[in-house]
């Protein structure tokens, strides 16, 4: 029995007039400079831009890991700026999945425990069928009893991806998930993310600077100097490279 999330037109996450400034006075750096963006449910969006364009900051502010200086960020209809640290933690636990570039796993826990981490933290029961399906698709069912240091880099990232999906989050944020992987492992991971969006309606927002990775997405948002400079729907690798050449990035 396959559990699917039906595609809807609801917005999974959005930001309005998002500004993020670090430091004060003359030394202040503006990382986000008036961002208006929304991410539809069930779609796979990539955020691209040169180093320092603010793409990671955008991801962190959307995911409730960082707080905007002004403007609003929403997950579903919940405005993040109004939440206490505790509520924000609960929101991340229940509604958000994460895949980072590296150090995704807790070394003392087995792969299975790492996959189930958000549920273990919450003390919640897991959906065994969905767990089996996710680890099956990712091909890590034989590696579940191993510790992270016994897994290859690709396996580690697949365990992280499984963790991001297993709690049925409203949205998954991925920060350069394939950045440390060889091209074959990267392709496997990205194909899985593509499939999660297409087959299971999982909303995914991924930051990357790799045109090949970005081409797996439904839509690309381009950032430059803290602003959204362009968008692209249904991208291909070639189109992305062309567009990036225009930006000089």
């Amino acid at each position: 029995m396959v559990t699917t999330v039906p595609r809807t037109d609801l917005t999974a996450a959005r930001m309005t007039a998002g500004v993020k400034r670090y430091g004060q006075g003359d030394t202040a750096v503006t990382a986000l400079d008036g961002i208006d963006v929304s991410f539809e449910s069930g779609r796979f969006t990539a955020i691209m831009g040169p180093s320092g364009s603010g793409k990671s900051t955008l991801l962190h502010c959307l995911a409730g890991l960082d707080v905007l200086t002004s403007g609003s960020a929403y997950i579903g209809e919940v405005e993040l700026g109004s939440l206490s640290d505790k509520d924000l933690t609960l929101l991340r636990r229940e509604k958000v999945g994460f895949v980072f570039q590296a150090f995704n796993l807790i070394p003392t826990l087995s792969a299975k425990e790492n996959v189930l981490l958000p549920l273990l933290i919450a003390g919640a029961a897991h959906d065994a069928a969905w767990f089996g399906e996710v680890v099956g698709i990712l091909g890590i069912e034989n590696r579940l009893s191993h510790r992270p240091n016994e897994l290859s880099g690709g396996e580690q990232q697949r365990v992280a991806a499984a963790r991001a999906l297993v709690s049925h989050p409203a949205i998954v944020f991925a920060d350069e998930p394939s950045g440390n992987l060889d091209s074959r492992s990267a392709a496997e991971l990205l194909a899985f993310m593509r499939r999660a969006a297409s087959d299971y309606g999982q909303t995914i927002v991924m930051v990357t600077h790799d045109p090949v990775a970005a081409a797996y997405a439904d839509r690309i948002v381009f950032l430059g100097d803290g602003r959204i400079v362009d968008e692209m729907a249904n991208p291909t690798t070639e189109a992305v490279i062309d567009r990036m050449k225009q930006f000089g990035g």
């Binding site: 505790k86 981490l117 003390g123």
Partner: protein, 906 residues
Amino acid sequence: MLRATLKSALGHRLRLVLTAMSVMMGVAFVAGTFIFTDTIDKTFDELFADVYAGQDVIVQSETGYDVSLGIPPPFNAGVIETVRGVPGVVAAEGSVSGFAVIYDEAGKAIVPTGPPTLGGSWVEDDRLVGNTEMREGRGPTASDEVVIDARTATAHDLVLGDVVEVQTLMKVATYRVVGIIGFGEADNLGGATMALFDLDTAQRLFGMEGEYSSITVVADSGTTPEVLTRRIQAVLPDTLEAVTATDELAAQTQSMQESLGFLQTALLVFAAVAVFVGSFIIQNTFRIIVRQRQRELGLMRAVGATGSQIIWMVVIEALLVGLVASLLGILLGFGIAGGLTVIMDAAGFSMPSTSAPLALRTIVVGLAVGLLVTVAAAVVPAVRASRIPPVAALHDMDVTLRMSDRARAIIGGILLAAGVGFMVSGLLEGLIDIGPLNQLTRVGIGAALVFLAVSLLSSNVVKPAAAVLGHRSVLTAVGVLSGLALVGTGVGLVVYGASSGVGAVAYMIPLALIPLAVGGLALYLGLTVVRDRFSPALAVQNAVRKPRRTATTASALMIGLALVTFCFILGDSIKASAGQAIDEGLRADYVLSVNAFVGGFSPQLADDLTQQPEIAAVTAMRIGYWDLDGREQIATGLDPVTADQTLFLDIQQGDFGALADGGVLVLDTVAEEEGWTLGDEIPMGFARGLQQVEIVGIFAKQNLVQPYVVSLDFFEQNMSGYGSDLDYAVAVKAADGVSPEVSRAVVEAAAADYPNATVRDQAEYRAAQEDQANTMLALFNALLVLAVIIAIFGITNTLALSIYERTHEIGLLRAVGMSRSQVVRAVSWEAIVVAIIGAVLGIVVGTVFGVVVAVAMASQGLTVLSIPVLQIGALVVFGAIAGLIAALFPARRASRLRILDAIAYE
């Protein structure tokens, strides 16, 4: 290279501070001990210098040996004329000294615990008074007049013209205060109270009619004290000696220093424990630091640093930590010295105070201990650091060299065997002879080796122990129990404050907030286990993740708690043995004794009681000293006729009756040790000279008496010492058919005239003995608390460093939904698990030590082995609380980590 080291050390200020803390506290204890004993030394130096100021020659009885707290035997006063006739003598005056207790207006004896209560005769000649100065009034001229010291006067609101009660050898009598004296700047002599009477009165009160204790002499300006001493000695009878005041001062000072030497040694033992515990923590810290800096050190190797340069880097950092910590520790020593004064005071040894001196020796020893311990502890980590290959710069891999499990087991086993060997050889002296080390040193070295061995071997028990501890019901119980204990303590403090007055409540409530707050946290931890299984599970996994690190951290706590357990068992066994001895060996219905460490009450009391028809037998006991080949021995003098009815000494051979003819009874274990048998003559050195005394009996139960017992007649002829003319205890047996109510009333009535005599029946006497043991136990445990505090710092330090290592992990956990309070709980549980492992190890090791030592001491009167299971069990809860306190700071720090910084870390 040096710059790189300094930068790296200063770059981690927190780590530096936490590491330094453990060294600092050990050094502070060492320095504090020296400062404390130096202060006492200085006080007594000043005291004796005051007493002899202005005097040149002292004439007194020739004594066979210098008696502790001794007053030499009195001599015929007629000799004063001979002394006055010696050319060069300007002035000479005889005086008597003895024991006198002043009572305050409420009828309570003014008895400082420690310094003596002195009585004496007023010196008429101004040239012989030393620095004694009349503050108010005049000298005594009539038999009902007294002069007292200014401190006693001000502390107890006594003024000229007041009538006070003073107790001497005679019954309490009343005297009018006609003068108040000081001694230069000081209001009293080193804390002693003083009552001076005119010479005739003093001679009568101290039982020295027609006698002097000493004669003091002033030389004319043309005669040196040495010359005059020789001249006077030439005309004195053989029984008297003349000494210069300077020599007498030196002798007195030396004898005081010798008796203080014991105290210093005892305190240094506790200091050594603190330093030893500290060394575990330093070693652990440096090992963690080297592990954490592996990449940095690898990089240094890659760019060309040699292995020895790396060693020097770590060692220099250790020197830096050691230096800063030692200097701070020496300063903190003043605080510790103050604390020791308070602890000693609370335990009943009040010490006179003067400004605390900082001797060069204190600085040198403090620095040496701090630097040596720190550098020694850093050597192994430094050598490990030097073996890090350059490739470590490129990968984050664990390449730190470490002992294999097998090597650890072998070394641990060897250390354990050596430790046990040392302890056994110390406990069973004579069975194994291993050279010049004394028993205590051998037991100490043995214990230290056993601790090291257990520390090495215990990394193997970390995993199973944590698995047991990690069970939810265990964690809940630990949290709830320690929470209740702390909340109980907090409430107790408030109630105690409320019962002691309004002012005390205001003081107690803020004090109670600490245990209440920590207790609340413990309860919260215990009760959240049910709904949050993740945090404790993570904590247990983190605790076992580096078993050696955990084992070393736990070992620091183990040492302190093992020694506490040891004290508990020994103390309880002493109490039980003493109780059993009283139950079996006391035939008397009542015991009258003094509530002070020295002194006693007038023999008149025993005489009064003997007169009463309701009383069947009265045995007065006195305490005196004698010399056995340079070793001072304590003996009891008693009346052998009544003793058989009041005491049960369980005489094995010989009998009480033979005592009357001048023999001595010896405790069986002493006789065995010395190789004496019934009928042997032993050489007893008295102040008046050596005597061969026959052993007329061997007894087995040392009850109310010292290991040697002589008749009161023999005692009076030979023994001397401070208060030796007073009874320290009187055992009373009621006549047949007299009800307890009546006999008690009779005894109480007789004792009413002697306010420092306390009447106790058997049960009360037993309880009082137990109280005394409890006080000693509390004193030891108060001193051991320092070792526990150092261990808490160790847990905090290790935990803080571990959390620093896990920054990224914590960031990830927070990102995927772990709340701040869950982080607090996880860190707290980790510390508690480590602490409980330490506590349990400590209890096991301490119980073994306690049982072994108690069994070994069976021949020395420790007939009952008693293990206070509840008290020892409570140490587990105490350990949990220690862990929780250790976790407070790191837990807060971990929960406040900013997630993004943590994820971006590296």
